[in-house]
Amino acid sequence: MSDAVIKLINVRRFYLVGDFVVKALDGVTLTINKGSFTAIMGPSGSGKSTIMNLIGCLDTATSGYIEIDGELTNDLNESELAFIRNQKIGFVFQQFNLLGRLNALENVMTPMVYANYSSRERRDRAEEMLIKVGLKDRMKHLPNELSGGQKQRVAIARALVNNPAILLADEPTGALDSKTGDQIMTLFESLNDEGKTIVFVTHDRALGMRCKEQVYIHDGRIADQDVFRKF
């Protein structure tokens, strides 16, 4: 499929814990298209975090084939994976993961530092992103001076700043109250409307249902929706 931005074919990820092999993912085949808004759902321990780590190039598969925005990632070394993360993936985490000693603007500029933009470009683009997520007045604030929702907006601005192919969100509303969570969800929806591909990892069924597509993971495999309903 020409507009596939993420392709996983028969992906396995096994861990060795002592003498015991943990099969976190056991043969997952999955295609996510450009411009989609896909929820990856499943209970904790199902393997959805492992999928997220593999798509996010934080981890490599034990076997199988992973392609991110046209790049085969199986045999890449750490530096090459870092480059893909920097250029093609925008992470949004449950715990925001802002750098505490940097203000909002500096946080948003960080991915561009690694992409070797000039400081002028970094500033201009980071400001643009912060305005886009509605934080025009909070640019010089440190993370501990921001509310949870504002922190997550900074994180989203940071994820968008290098214009990645994929926005990868891991329980992005998990640490927020429902009203703020709803606002963040609305922000994701509007970003998707602008054409951004979003992969949304969650164990929350209601949130997952707000996404356009759903993928259910159970025991390291993709389960069909009917099976999933039983849980």
Binding site: L58, E78, A82, R85, N86, F93, N97, R101, R158
Partner: protein
Amino acid sequence: MFFENFKLALKSMWTNKMRTFLSLLGIVIGVGSVVAILNLGQSANDSIMESMEVGGLDMVNVIPSGWSREATFDEEFSQNFLVNIMGIKDVVATVSSTANVRYGQERLSTSISGVTSDFFEVNKLSLLDGEFFTATDNINRRQVVILGSDVAEELFPAGGAVGKYISIFRTQSKRYLVLGVLEEKDATLGASYNNGIFIPFNTYIQRFRKTSQVSSYTIQVEDGFDATKVADDIDEYLSSITDSDTYTIFSPAQLVDMANQIMTTFSSFLAAIAAISLLVGGIGIMNIMLVSVVERTREIGIRKALGATPKVIRGQFLVESITLTITGGLIGILFGWLISYLIVQYAGWALHFSWLAVILAMAFSTFVGVFFGWYPAMKASKLDPIQALSYE
């Protein structure tokens, strides 16, 4: 990128001010010692050289023990030096004793020396006023005198000594014409020119006091010859013709050698302190950097997720440890400078500010930063991003 890392490093140092300060102490002391060694070594050396050069490093003094009956030292004897020892340019014999001098109501007791006319040149003396006596004055045994600056001041408080006659007493009073007044010059090796008076050698031994005993020989070493070597040769020569307890040899160059040896010992001692403190300081830096890597595990995870390569992370921590040690180096330079300033004040030397010390100190601290920062930085760069991100 480097600039970003540098800013980050300063930020993190500032956040942990006390910790930064304590972890830098080793470097500060180490670098401070290096700077102090070099500043002090150079200052001491300058000061010794300066005081020696006043007397002249190209000179050797031979002082006979006057009461020795076996040895005869006279002016003719001095010619033997020239014949028997390589590297001697000139030998000036001096006879001296004390005398009372008077001008008008002013009188004082002073040392009087009979010298040949080249004495002044060999000893690098210059005139404040008037002129030196000549070789002809010496041959003619003229009753002329050159006054040391202190003597001139005491006898002629109002100045204008040149052209006046002063009286010099030994067994009888004789009038001497003042030809010149010496410029003030600091004493070297106990010989002070300021409170002495100088008359021609022949005038001394034939008119002032009949004697064949020379008080000292000032031997000027030829250019390109080592004064210490010549002094040794003189010693060897003299001991072959007389007992070694009948003379004493002084050479400023020998004293410089001795002073240099003392400085070398002192420097090695301080260098050992510096090496140990730099080592301990470096270990302190490594320790604090390892703590910092652990504390910032999550930050490292975040940065890796945002696209920092292992090399970038390693660079960040290396820049941080180098920034730390260079800061320590800068404080150390100030500290070393302060120590050398205090010691120099106490010793009365002129402070020599050694740029070499600054360059060495900066090189040392950078080296310590790289060497001891490498392992923590490698450790940080190798962290697994997933584990680092879930680190609490």
